[in-house]
Symmetry: C3
Amino acid sequence: MLNWLVIFAPIAIVLHHFAPERYELIFLTAAIGILPFAAWLGRATEQLADRSGEGVGGLLNATFGNAAELIIALAALRAGLYDVVKATIAGSIVGNILLVLGASMLAGGTRYPEQHFNLTGARAQATMLTLAAIALIIPAAYHGLVGEFYVGGQKPLSISISLTLLVVYCMFLLFSLWTHPSFFSGSNVPDNETSSQPWPLSWSVTVLAVCTAAIAWLSEILVGTIEPTARALGLSDIFIGVFVIAILGNAAEHASAVTAAMKNRMDLSLSIAIGSSIQVALFVAPLLVLASLIVGPEPMNLLFGKGLVLAVFVAVVITGQIASDGRSDWLKGVQLLAVYLILGLAFFLTP
Amino acid sequence: MLNWLVIFAPIAIVLHHFAPERYELIFLTAAIGILPFAAWLGRATEQLADRSGEGVGGLLNATFGNAAELIIALAALRAGLYDVVKATIAGSIVGNILLVLGASMLAGGTRYPEQHFNLTGARAQATMLTLAAIALIIPAAYHGLVGEFYVGGQKPLSISISLTLLVVYCMFLLFSLWTHPSFFSGSNVPDNETSSQPWPLSWSVTVLAVCTAAIAWLSEILVGTIEPTARALGLSDIFIGVFVIAILGNAAEHASAVTAAMKNRMDLSLSIAIGSSIQVALFVAPLLVLASLIVGPEPMNLLFGKGLVLAVFVAVVITGQIASDGRSDWLKGVQLLAVYLILGLAFFLTP
Amino acid sequence: MLNWLVIFAPIAIVLHHFAPERYELIFLTAAIGILPFAAWLGRATEQLADRSGEGVGGLLNATFGNAAELIIALAALRAGLYDVVKATIAGSIVGNILLVLGASMLAGGTRYPEQHFNLTGARAQATMLTLAAIALIIPAAYHGLVGEFYVGGQKPLSISISLTLLVVYCMFLLFSLWTHPSFFSGSNVPDNETSSQPWPLSWSVTVLAVCTAAIAWLSEILVGTIEPTARALGLSDIFIGVFVIAILGNAAEHASAVTAAMKNRMDLSLSIAIGSSIQVALFVAPLLVLASLIVGPEPMNLLFGKGLVLAVFVAVVITGQIASDGRSDWLKGVQLLAVYLILGLAFFLTP
């Protein structure tokens, strides 16, 4: 469906070399050009996951599910655009639970008056999100309280919280894939359609490699145009990170979650939407902090701006409320989307 | 019951004309004089609602249920008392869920060891309140973060959030009156008593018109005395708005909700208490913001003081916790009232 | 089990008299020496409670359950170490719900895939915690908003909030012991083991008196060494209060709660862990505020530092989420412990 968008990739590359001053155009084409590769990367990961049996497959999905975002973020990290990286992380957390989940509940709710999902798994995921929000609140609060006269503590705090999050994320995988998998599988009909025709292993690996390379290339191009594009459009690069890049990175998840909701498979929809947020918050973000010790021009910390922390907090609070009774309807979708819109307005109006 | 209080209305008017320096007395008599008109206004609305069938009737109740508050707030708006308007809005949100709901649960709990209400409807309403709290937190946070060096964003932010809230409120009415009405009606016995004798249409309309006019007149008088009264009593006009005026405006709801709780009709009690808060937050407040573009001396924004935002946040958090398991007991009433008392103490001691 | 630790008590006393400059050693020995007395004090209270019938027994447990903490805090109060007292209170609230409950859920979860507890009682307790968090947030917010130009309001605010909390705590006892005791007793097997052999009354009273005296003596010694020890170790006395002293004071509860969880008696485990936090927040803390009017060099208020308030808020939020579905598993334990670790890291790195 998105395949034809692939033509934007060569356009971006050509523009980048021959018309590097057309920032907005390069940004736009590179951003759109990434989409089909991200979708194929997701498909290849799923193929490898299907082939590997449930446990390892879940692990593969949980590790490479946000590979596109990780690659873009690494490119931004190498360029030293820490604000953009953090904005993308926060935007991805917020976007998955407000926009993707909201759209899924709204779309599903227009077809079914009431939809159901596994209460216990949804609650475990919501608590994971709360933990993630706390892990972002504490460094920001620490900075606010002691930051002025003592900056030295932020680096060890960020590193140790990142390690804590990675350990908890592993525990969560252990829990959801091994000790309590039943909490995360609904009682709905299994989905026979997706596993239509398995790919040969060599094909999966090739697709994975090609897509990774293509996304990495386009990301380098994209990242270089963020700041001038933001300036030209009169937007903050925070807004670009939180809303534009994060939405791009999550486009594939978005489509899958909405499709699942419309097939009344809310457990899958929730797993994709909330699971993706958890993965970004507890796996991608700490990994980037640790990676920055090696890759970036200087270490990145977990100190997110107050606006980003508040956005994550607010999103996590309302998601916790919405996900905790095991049922959804269209109004829940509207409520989540309204919060996303309000946050979007505030970031859009921020200079 | 409250009818005889009507004599305070002419007293207020006489004092206003012949002894305008007796601020406290005018404030007191005008405030008390409003009460019976507000009660009759409510009754007339209900009569019109009963006459109109369930859907339109619910709409009428949802639109004019807080008419008295709206009229008082409009008077304060025209006088340019934005702080009082905002304090009244916040006080009304907080008062309905802490004082009115708390008193209802306590009163009901002294009669019945445990009372039940529709879990799904209560949760949908609690999420609405969370949305309302977020809609107040974001402008305040925006001001705190960018306000110092960029004031221009606050006005478009307030207007666009107000429009968002009005749309969501319409969606909520659609949801509760049309697509999912069963979530909001309990399994309790229907209340035959109230619909004893329907009024003739002309009588309903006359009462509506007379009460509206009387409340508008008294509000003008009341509003002019708020500031000198506050100064004379050593209170802030914020305190007067949050506690005195908001309690007055909600007196009718208060009586109905407690009565319903004592008849073990907790669904009705919750609908009145939480529903009233939702209406003020998602309908009255944004309407006033938009009205101020035409009526007031200058536009009013959604930027509430930090104390008010915190009060709303705290009230919404504990209400969400209390309303989310579909049952109530007297301790829940005590808990809500305790939070109201703590907030009251803090505002009372604020200079 | 802990009995032999009693030998640290005389060591602390001897060191205190003959080597008062060995601060760290005195701190360590006094702290460890308090442990066995606290355990025996708890046992004596339970014996008196068993003897007194359910209602009065529950009251005794609820009043003297945190006696050790109260005695240590009173010693710190008399020494004017208000920061340490507040840190100990906050640390005790946070430690009981994050460390003690987390360890219990983890320990129980390693034995049983899923454990159950009474949903309604757990929710009532969680709401109590929310109330406690609000009671700490409001004075801090009040200070932040009006504190700079008006300090006079903090004292009456603290006293009136303290009185409110004490009244609510009495209501909670009335509720849990008298009107709704069934909410707090699980459907699990009764515990026959503990009531093996009742003590004679005179023995219970003697143990109570001796332990109280010993703890009081050791507390005086301990308190005098907190600040120099903190300075010598490069830690803040806040960290010592929140983590070291609070953990010591809760060691007995910790052991009982974990043991109960491993016997699959989660209702008891929750009652101990959350109940202890409630007792500290709604009984010990306000009592200390009122006691400081008589005992301390100057009155203590309820104005806790922002870091402490945030720690309590964060702990209460995640506990509310975890306790509200009536079941626990090992992942919930990990989640609670992770938040405790993150808070510990932040306080540890605070200079």
